[in-house]
Amino acid sequence: MVSRRNFLIGGAALPFLSYLELADTAFAATPKDILVVAQQLDNMTSLDPHEGFEAVGGEMISNMYQKLVRANNDNPDQVVPVVAASWEADAESKVFTFKLADQTFSSGAAVTAEDVAFSLQRAIKMNKSPAFIINQFGFTADNVEARIVAKDAKTVTLTTEKPTSISFLLFCLSANIGAIVEKKVVMANAVNNDLGNAWLQKNSAGSGAFMLQAWKASESISLQLNPHGPYKGNLKRVIVRHVVDPSSQLLMLQKGDVDIARDLTSEQLRAAQNDKDITLIQKQIASLVLISLNQSNPNLAKPQVWKAVKWALDYEGMQKNIIPLSHVVHQSMEPSGFPGTVKDLPYKRDVEKAKALMAEAGLKDGFEITLDHYAAQPYPDLAQAIQANLGEIGIRVKLQSAENRQVLTKMRGRQHEMALSAWGTDYFDPNSNAEVFCINKDNSENAKNKPFAWRSSFKDDALAAKAEAARDEKDPAKRIALYEALQRDFMENSPFAVMFQTTKTAACRVGVEGFRLGVLSEGNTYLETKKA
């Protein structure tokens, strides 16, 4: 009985296994003209360039659409002309005239001033999350048709409410909210006055290198070459596969099932570093890891405690041991790679100094506090190291980990005491972070604006005034100088301990060249990517 059954099972399994073995020979490297990318896609919500407001979608959008100008990844002080060929401001710095270059939509039609004006008006009228980036220049749904005008086929003028620094305006227009869509195609697909929003969430109508072929949520995004676009390489398609697990991403990369893995963490990167078939592309991105101290807690409201915390942390030890390949120590509120970022690192671990500060605050015996942090690595490791660091100066930290949206909800409701979280910058200008960290004018529960500083009940009017002065300064060099002073001030006098800046790594197989990472995800581009 035994032998017969074994025989039967074996007999049944053999052809099945050999069948699969045969299938194995069919697995070859990915086709030459298709680039396959493994990436976590689960946060993506919309591919409409005037709506999408998170990193992954932002990257896809910037590969499908062009803007008037784009940020220069190598020289943060400049912008690069794209749809705009040239621009000038009037004497008052209120009317800005853009002359357009020759670009072509994926439909084959030329990009006209009417498309540009329509696109910017559309962004304002729909008023989705990223709209504030350009409506801060005084555009509203009612006045935008008068203030953003197509003068002729190749000329557009923008009239701002107040005199504006042109570099500020240009940096804001380089964000995805400034993407140019094809008016005719978008309006043909509009339903219920949505300006084509529902359609554009899952389709594309741009002049970028690629166009959207399919978005299957939690599965993949397929981009197809825009035959009329600026792409000159040998790729016909880019398929981005949703792979959650970083270890799986590395395995697939090593086996040649994908050409680029995008979410490897320190652990996988260590392995990838030693693999001669893999090259790493690294870029410091505009994402900061910081601790917020909620000012509604009386202990945390003491400036000596802010400083004690900053002096107690072992920045270098954490970076070197926990996150050597994914973060660098960084203490300014502006990320490296932005214009005018201060790279000083005034704080390092000094337990005695921190203890003295605690004593000065009248908290010699310390206090108990809760630290909320993201559940995803490396945050739990960092949180435990922070717990140990602060423990040495008497701050007894209780850790509370949660999924990141949960931590954000809590912070938005000002329910945290201390929080370890990440902050990603919205657009390529120092004002983006300066505004959220420094300008909190109404600290009440029902404030109209609730910037990041509001969440921790931090209101400093002097700091806010400096941030506004820097924003409105029209001389570019002076503007930078003001921002540098602001950053030093913030390091010294704020309840936010900025600790690290994230380094993103794209691991590519040998033969894949020219993929670029930007400081913001909208700078991640396949424009120059080729595959041998």
Binding site: P246, S247, L250, T265, E267, Q268, R270, A271, D314, G317, M318, K320, N321, I322, Y374, A375, Q377, P380, D381, A383, Q384, A385, Q387, A388, L399, Q400, S401, A402, E403, Q406
Partner: protein
């Protein structure tokens, strides 16, 4: 002394009810001792329980002391099982983790098994409207995706060991109720139950004295097979930030946080995994052997 007890317990003509009961217990133990896998299971569990109790004596380090410079070290004389992602001694954390993990498992079982058994037997015995109501409630919970229920429950409370235990218990009882009800249905109409009813025994007495014991064997099989899934569910919760909180050395949380090292420092996730494997295998062996012994239908 032992042989005196043995003779007394195994006496063919017990003089008291107590002596008879001890006799049965002793025979069961002898029976159990003859089952090698059961004995292996019992031994492993006993070792782990001892380790948990004696953790402070057996530990070579403090389970919370970090040494960032000596992170992910391989096993050595200084650290018998190496160090984890924060340079803490893994051997020590396994010892202390035994307390947390075993404690959680026991707490869940103690909550779940009696509840499920009671609900299932009552529903099965009374039938009719009682059955309908209880089974509808059971069905709702049973039909609910486990992880969703547990996650939501923990999210509403504070993440931590206690919430995790309650959440797992909340999702784990329905299968026991179903099982117990099915068993009850098969015996409800049998002659001996009818006989008890004729003697005027109350329904509750019949349920808890006569029907519930009949359901125990399947319950034990289920509980033992569930032990490991309880540990694993706890690990999944820990993985999502809803279970044991750092720096608690719960084994599941240890695996979840260390699984990213599987390529290079494979021992870091493998050691707690082996601990879980050993304990749940042991529970399974033990439960299985107990089943052979305790099954009243079999004897």
């Amino acid at each position: 002394m032992t042989s005196a007890f043995r003779n007394w317990a195994l006496s063919e003509t017990p003089s008291s009810r107590r002596q008879a009961a001890w006799g049965n217990r002793y025979r069961a133990w002898l029976n159990f001792k003859g089952n090698p896998l059961g004995m292996i299971g019992l031994t492993i569990i006993a070792i782990f329980v001892l380790m948990a109790i004696l953790a402070p004596l057996l530990a070579t380090h403090n389970p919370a002391t970090q040494e960032l410079g000596n992170r992910l070290a391989a096993p050595s004389a200084a650290h018998w099982l190496g160090t984890d992602e924060l340079g803490r001694d893994v051997y020590t954390r396994i010892l202390y983790g035994a307390r947390v993990t075993l404690g959680m498992v026991i707490a869940v079982v103690v909550l779940v098994a009696p509840l499920g058994l009671a609900i299932g037997c009552i529903a099965g015995y009374f039938g009719g409207i009682v059955d309908t109501i209880l089974m509808r409630i059971t069905d709702i919970f049973l039909a609910f995706p486990r992880l969703v229920l547990a996650l939501a429950f923990v999210a509403a409370l504070k993440p931590g060991v206690e919430s995790a235990v309650l959440a797992i218990a909340l999702t784990a009882w329905p299968p026991y109720a179903r099982m117990a009800r099915a068993e009850t249905l098969t015996v409800r109409g049998s002659d001996f139950i009818a006989a008890y009813r004729l003697t005027g025994a109350s329904s509750w007495r019949i349920i808890f004295r006569h029907i519930a014991p009949l359901c125990t064997p399947s319950l034990i099989v289920r509980v033992t097979l569930d032990m490991s899934s309880i540990i694993i569910t706890a690990a999944s919760l820990g993985f999502l930030g809803m279970g044991a909180q750092p720096p608690s050395p719960e084994w599941g949380a240890m695996i979840a946080t260390a699984k990213r090292f599987i390529f290079e420092q494979w021992w870091v996730p493998m050691i707690p995994a082996v601990a879980i494997l050993l304990v749940s295998l042991a529970f399974n062996f033990l439960g299985d052997a107990l089943r052979d012994v305790l099954d009243p239908k079999g004897n």
